[in-house]
Symmetry: D2
Subunit: 365 residues, 4 copies
């Protein structure tokens, strides 16, 4: 039946046997740069030559080997879930990409079978395996992904931006979880995903975007991403300032990107009645809420957000990038060789970076 | 312009001067039955001769004079926000009801002007005044309400059922806040609104309704309201039982009616990924949540619910009652004279009642 | 109960007895400028001193006395349903505006009682009476409106723009009937409401706005309203050009503003599968459609649009204007004394105007 | 990466070489029963031993060789797009089903790559190939389908019902395209999909289901599917009867299953303002509409419906069947050997059948 599919594997050239990769090698802090086998390609899979990769807070957690990492990651595993690459090998049955295509990658490898998958909620698939966390990822010269996870890079997009479509998709997913057009939107937390969210909310029609953080460095990046106003919550009261900026109306929506209990409580309080708070930031601990005052009496809708809708989110992001309405470049503060991964981790730990993009061995910036 | 409106007040007959009423008379526990003036009628308002009234948990809180009541209620005020009555006087400008009509009453008197009201979210109006809480209510022989708050009783509905459309509306609002058709719905907490919700979810197309409580008395009422299964959470594990009953799927939606932290946590855990929890039950204290595990990683949507959509909820309830698909009678366990209000409060305190309906002075059951 | 309401009428000053007005006086083409009584104010109503008014295609239809007008309008009636004015008298019970407020007016006077009204669909109230069509309107020195129909003018908005919030609301309603953020939006027909829709779609986050018309004059106005591309359908094939401009994707949404059968068929054909077409333009005659090819096999959603959501649409428009994201001024091509109404009608007939704004007697431009 | 997948094909037993099949063999009316090769299985595909199959109006069109068929079908092709079978062979990479599973089949084989597919609108994939129309289908002893198209039969469902999940899904898709809970729903046209829709609307929470047709035979089947009322439009006026049955309210939604212009016009007229009409029935010719009166002034939403949402619709249907709320058996009027296909076609042509189910060679009823 599949007359147009690849019945057998197809390759561009002689295949390398080994490659360099950033490997979580042991149950302890840190990583190792190792020579490992180039991954194989099964039916429906493709092999990418990695061009650029982005460093995520999750990579920092795994580097540090925090409690979450200890419960989830099984060394050895190659890290990296944000990347762009060129297709250099097609597994059997692949029809949607061809050799030479430049693609970014959805990082969730899903089962297509569970109740979530069957309801177009693949982003919360019960059996998700994440590239660079549960299975080998893209901090390497090559990476294998399911062909269906590939997204063709829109024309005219810088390669660094193409590398970070995955985390930008998190921000798109959060922003698009509720109304944006004509809305007053708050973004609490100006790490990379918060920064992306500012630009997205603006491009997607929010009439006012108000961003908050405690870091002057990050607030300056927020301004560069075109926030209409920024609030330094180490110095100013978020709720009061929002009320002032919105002439008493309050926010129509909040995109929570910090994982901080106070940001969430402030965000809820700053919402107008009937508003929504979309929650992507991961708290480090459980925390309490005055449910009656902050949620129930206000008729708030709260969204738990993870991953990206597969693949509406990618299409929305594609349109935003392709049209030129969204410019992510101010959020990318560093580009460096993959070899210097530990240095990138250091920048993240010190809060001295927006998004850091890595250049694999053999690629040139 | 208003050629069809009532330019001046219209009355059925000579007007009584005083009436009996259940009055929160002092800042202390208890109530008084007093002789008070029959309320006046301003432009856009109507006077009702009360036929039946329902007793609510809120009335219990005010009777007890708990912390919430102390902060909100300003004695003296006539209690009662669930009632049905006959229209006996029309204020100037009223066109939507006529003398002799039998109407139930929305209890939220709203401003029609704030940002919530202007967005069809009158149920979370920033300036709501609630009948029987902030302004005089319907535990009396007569009550004045805005004409727009009147809902004509659908034909063939027992007068006791007509009396409790307001709290049933809370359950409709909660249930209709997310998908019902073809869904597995959990109802946590089988007080009166939980009981209504069971019947509503069934009538509105849920394929399985699972109810939980700790009281065998209430669980028996839940069965009478046609729950497909009931779980006594004092004896059984909610999450395990749900998983068993749904063959591993989990719930598509939870209607939280208990205000108990454990019910909410269980409800979230029992949801399938991508499900929704609609939260009407009011917790007595703030409580914490493992946000990552229970909400974010599961992609859950949480709705804070209060009041009734004005007036979609009333229309939905009207259709459910009118069609005969929803029978609320099993949830009404007691009907008694308004004079015996303290006895009704006693039944509620002891958990020995579903819904209690009161018959005003001069009316006969 | 209504302690804050106006129990009796309140006026700013001695009341004029008569005024000038543009009256549809007879069942024949044309209008008369007459001296008529200043309207009275009933409970819940307010009197406005008119500051500016907009001329609509509907006014042209009534002037011409076409078939629709003959079936609907009952002379004598004062025309005008787009206007802004100062509040100079309050009827009994009015609380939401005060003397001296500057307000624009929703033109639909609704019943608040029918099934549509009770479902927050007041814009399709079964008993709507339209100002300037069914009851006296605002082409006059004074006009009476229901207080609830008043919308406070956002600060900083030019008075000419304030005058045309009503028709701009039509465009907001149409645009917001489906997704906008990140979407490719077509606007077929560049009369005033089409022009507004272009600006709205841009401000509300559409990534590409493509407008079509047959008039070079209107297409130039479309460019000034910031259309990303314009198509002269007298010279170019709409579907082909859209396909080219969207790199084969097609449109995500079409806002149909022309009432032309060909525009609607083209719009449907140019939609991607699963897109939406929102239909505000009124065809002059019934026309046919290849339902299978254009609608069913493509999984299209079609919205019939009339009026403005009361009052979400007004709030959305308020936010767009207040933020400065939407600038309507390029669409206003003429401002002239109300006395010269026939000249305004002439411009509309000849297609030589965008929106025409009128200045009442005694006001100065 | 795909550690759990089938690297190579797996079979239950020795494979048959040829099989019997109903083949559209020539560009002319009629079909042939032929001995053809058993289909092969590519990566991601599975082979089914067919257990039962349903006959559809589309099969009738192809039999007759009408204009649509002539433009679409390329003989020779094995017919049949509604069927249930046992999995007897797995292609490379298949993980979601195993040998021996009993599955029904989605009939749309989609590309997973076009803009519709990438937006979870696979049912309107731009590159759809339909089993039994564009590629070989299930009126045969064996059929190959993509593994992802397989839906596991819920436990306890009769095999005849399992055979017709695909067309029942059309009805679910149509019904679930708008609100059902608490709604008055009209079903215009009581062919098999209309009959399914009646049962679905009832089970999914409609408070009143009103069905129409011109055939007393079909109206009797409609009653058996639990329509609350049926209207014989050859004798009664649809709009008048609906108004009477709904006490003047009109319908909240119409499911159009007939493809008749008059049914669509009547359906639109019988809708309350703001209602929805979901359009599955395929008209034989373009036809006109009074757009202003029937659609625009009423604020109607119209949905073009085709196929089934992949796979929300299947999950919804699964829940309805599994719970016992939906019983499709009254709609299945005939079960007969596949050998007697021409007889089944005859019954359909004469309107003397609801759904006809076929039993393949070697299977016993």
């Amino acid at each position: 039946m599949t007359t147009t599919a690849t019945a057998e594997k197809v390759r561009t050239s002689t295949r390398a046997k080994t490659m360099k990769a950033i490997v979580k090698a042991a149950s302890a802090p840190g990583i190792e740069i190792r020579e490992v086998p180039v991954p194989t390609v099964g039916p429906g899979e493709i092999l990418l030559k990695v061009k650029r990769a982005g460093v995520c807070g999750t990579d920092l957690h795994i580097w540090i080997w925090d409690r979450w990492s200890q419960g989830r990651v099984k060394p050895p595993v190659t890290l990296g879930h944000e990347f762009v690459g060129e297709v250099i090998e097609l597994g059997a049955g692949v029809v949607n990409v061809k050799l030479g295509d430049l693609v970014s990658s959805e990082s969730h490898v899903i089962c297509h079978t569970c109740v979530a998958c069957r309801n177009n909620l693949g982003h919360v698939c019960e059996n998700t395996r994440i590239l660079g966390v549960d299975i080998n990822g893209g901090f390497a010269e090559y990476v294998t992904i399911p062909a269906v996870n590939a997204w063709h890079i829109p024309p005219g997009i810088p390669i660094e931006v193409a590398a970070i479509m995955e985390p930008t998709g998190n921000a798109v997913h959060t922003a698009f979880a509720g109304p944006l057009s004509g809305c007053n939107i708050g973004v609490t937390g100006c790490g990379p995903i918060g920064l992306f969210a500012i630009g997205i909310a603006r491009a997607a029609g929010a009439t006012r975007v108000i961003a908050s953080d405690v870091s002057p460095y990050r607030l300056e990046l927020a301004r560069q991403m075109k926030a209409d106003a920024v609030i330094d919550v180490s110095k100013e009261n978020f709720v009061d300032r929002v009320r002032e900026l919105t002439h008493g109306r309050g926010l129509d929506g909040v995109l929570e990107m910090s994982g901080k209990p106070e940001a969430m409580r402030d965000g809820l309080q700053a919402l107008r009645n009937g508003g929504r708070l979309s929650l992507l930031g991961l708290p480090t601990e459980p925390f309490d809420l005055d449910w009656n005052r902050l949620l129930i009496f206000k008729g708030i809708t709260l969204h738990g957000i993870v991953g990206r809708r597969m693949y509406e989110t990618w299409d929305q992001l594609d349109q935003l990038l392709r049209s030129g309405r969204l410019d992510l470049r101010p959020s990318i503060t560093h580009t460096m060789p993959m070899e210097r991964f530990d240095e990138a981790i250091g920048l993240l730990r010190e809060g001295k970076a927006g998004k850091v993009v890595l250049v694999p061995w053999g690629e040139t910036a």
